[in-house]
């Protein structure tokens, strides 16, 4: 198990480093700077601005400085929101985004796995058909369509929930965002669980469990479900990536002050440090969750540890 864990870490860490280097290089080598969209600056002011932000140094020096600062958790000043450092902006937005993502994944698990089990047990019947169709729809609809559609239905027409916004963190402002974000993940989990449980139910050991006279519930709980959920565990890594991506849209649709909105706004403003910092934090998070999912999988299924 230890060597498996070390092998996984040995893949994740260089990946993060490559991402840091790539995004740094891309952003610094590109045409267009953060001060391009301002009123015309005199050369002296321009030179001063460049010096304050270190933009006049050689690239290698900028890179070394950046890496050193990163190690201290300092992502530098934001270029578009002058009064804040990137770390402050991330610190402001991340708790909300993390709550949103975590709640969405939990809800998706609570909805998707039981739906998949139900469909698998009712295979070929009307319930199975309905659930499979729903799952296909959930996977096909992009969040930037379902989000506004749900807000239109439950906010504008039914007045059950707020359409958008965030008033001092009242939970009801999170309901629609979390549901929107959870739906595609739940749909995917349902499809995955259904397929994998059907496969397990066909195996010999399930048949022999039945042959020993065990009841359907016992066969399901003690024999079929655990192996059937293995692929679901391995999907959790990609699910985190999906939720991270989806939160950008959700925070835009529902006007939530999370870090995803800073990332989008930063990209529009060409705020290099902000975008770079956000991408690194998000990439680190995604890679970390992938790693955790891999380790969990390896712990659950010894076969995965052999390479």
């Amino acid at each position: 198990m230890l060597s498996y864990a070390l092998r996984r870490i040995a893949v994740a860490v260089p990946t993060l480093l490559v991402i840091i280097t790539l995004s740094f290089a891309l952003q610094r080598l590109a045409p267009g700077g953060p001060f391009d969209q301002e009123q015309t600056l005199t050369p002296a002011v321009r030179a001063n601005l460049d010096r304050v932000y270190g933009l006049d140094r050689p690239l290698a020096v900028q890179y070394a400085h950046y890496l050193g600062a990163l190690a201290r958790g300092d992502f530098g000043p934001s270029l578009s929101q002058r009064d804040f450092t990137v770390s402050e902006l991330i610190g402001q937005g991340l708790p909300l985004s993390a709550t949103l993502g975590l709640a969405a994944i939990l809800l998706a698990i609570l909805l998707g796995i039981p739906a998949g089990i139900t469909a698998a047990l009712a295979r070929g019947g009307g319930v199975d058909y309905a659930l499979t169709a729903l799952a296909a729809l959930g996977i096909a609809l992009p969040t930037f369509v379902t989000g506004p559609a749900l807000a239109l239905a439950f906010g504008v027409h039914l007045h059950w929930l707020p359409v958008a916004g965030w008033e001092r963190g009242a939970p009801r402002y999170l309901v629609l965002p979390v549901v929107t974000l959870a739906l595609p993940v739940a749909a995917y989990l349902a499809r995955l669980t259904r397929a994998s449980l059907l496969e397990v139910l066909r195996t010999n050991y399930v048949r022999s469990a039945r042959a020993r006279g065990l009841g359907a519930a016992r066969v399901l709980w003690h024999h079929a479900l655990r192996p059937a959920l293995l692929p679901v565990v391995s999907y959790l890594g990609p699910a985190v990536a999906f939720v991270v991506t989806g939160s950008l849209v959700i925070e835009t649709v529902f006007a939530l002050p999370g870090s995803g909105r800073y990332l989008v706004q930063g990209a529009i403003d060409r705020d290099y440090p902000l975008v770079l910092g956000m991408v690194i934090v998000y990439a680190g998070l995604t890679l970390g969750c992938n790693l955790a999912a891999d380790l969990l999988y390896g712990w659950l299924d010894p076969r995965a540890r052999r390479e």
Partner: protein
């Protein structure tokens, strides 16, 4: 002679199987209709995508009205704008798919065929990019290059689209490489480039066509996603993404502005996915 007939047979077989698939057939017909509408209707309409009709601001849809799908707050015709968006989405996604499938095909086939350290390095590069959520790559690229131009958008979308194709082609090439007919070609002295072009690539054609088809809806999704976030197609040009974004902001007073482009997007995505699935089943009947 017989070889040529057999070669045609595969594709003719696939076309027959595709035709027999009711979902795929319906999808193809619907797609054809939408594409035709998107091509022919805007020039035939009295309104341009950016012309303002001051007498009909934020007009709801109606067949008897001057604007079938209504207008936005500036009095722009939503029918024309939506179809312009469809046209742009189809154009961008087809081009981006062609570019990314081309890159993926070349990358995967070369890596698979080269073997050794080259292969290792090439595929590791793909793994690294793959482990990042694709959106970050696109966001970095659009931060770097700036927004607004369709060429940039194309580049950004294609830059992430080729990864899946590269992986699949790589795997297929590895399988093909071990087959007897490649060994025979080598034994008879066909040069490496010749083997790649004459024997490997034609055998990849089925897979590549299927993935190209499945890439198109992905690309439409990327494009509208970016345009929705404000990083893609910019006003006054219409794309399904920025129309949906504009509609979401006006949905309390003018819900049709959201519903019309959203319906077209969902229709396009569903049809393209059904068609792609049908094509996969048609070209590879063993799957089912």
């Amino acid at each position: 002679m017989s070889e040529a007939a057999a070669g045609r047979g595969l594709w003719r077989d696939a076309a027959r199987r595709l035709g027999a698939n009711r979902a795929a057939r319906t999808a193809l017909i619907l797609l054809g209709l939408v594409a035709l509408l998107a091509l022919l209707a805007p020039p035939a309409s009295p309104w341009a995508f950016d012309s303002l009709d001051w007498r009909h601001l934020a007009q709801p849809p109606g067949l008897a009205a001057a604007h079938w799908f209504g207008t936005d707050r500036l009095g722009r015709d939503l029918f024309v704008r939506t179809l312009h968006g469809v046209r742009l989405s189809l154009l961008i996604s087809l081009l981006a798919s062609a570019i990314s499938v081309g890159i993926g095909l070349a990358w995967g086939a070369l890596a698979g065929f080269a073997g050794g350290r080259t292969e290792e390095a090439m595929m590791r590069f793909v793994d690294v990019l793959y482990s990042l959520p694709y959106l970050f790559i696109v966001i970095i690229l659009s931060t770097v290059i700036g927004r607004g131009s369709i060429a940039v958008l194309l580049l950004a979308i294609a830059a992430v689209g080729w990864l899946t194709t590269a992986r699949i082609v790589h795997g297929q090439t590895l399988q093909l490489k071990r087959r007897e007919f490649i060994e025979a070609a080598r034994a008879t002295g066909v040069p490496t480039a010749g083997i790649l072009v004459r024997h490997i690539l034609p055998n990849l054609a089925g897979t590549v066509v299927v993935y190209a088809m499945l890439t198109v809806p992905q690309m439409i999704l990327f494009e509208s996603f970016l345009s929705f976030l404000g990083l893609g197609v910019q006003e006054p040009y219409a794309s399904l993404g920025n129309l949906i974004n504009a509609g979401a902001q006006e949905m309390e007073s003018a819900p049709w502005m959201l519903l019309v482009p959203a319906a077209f997007l969902v229709l396009l995505l569903t049809c393209l996915n059904l068609l792609g699935d049908g094509l996969r089943d048609a070209l590879d009947p063993r799957e089912r």
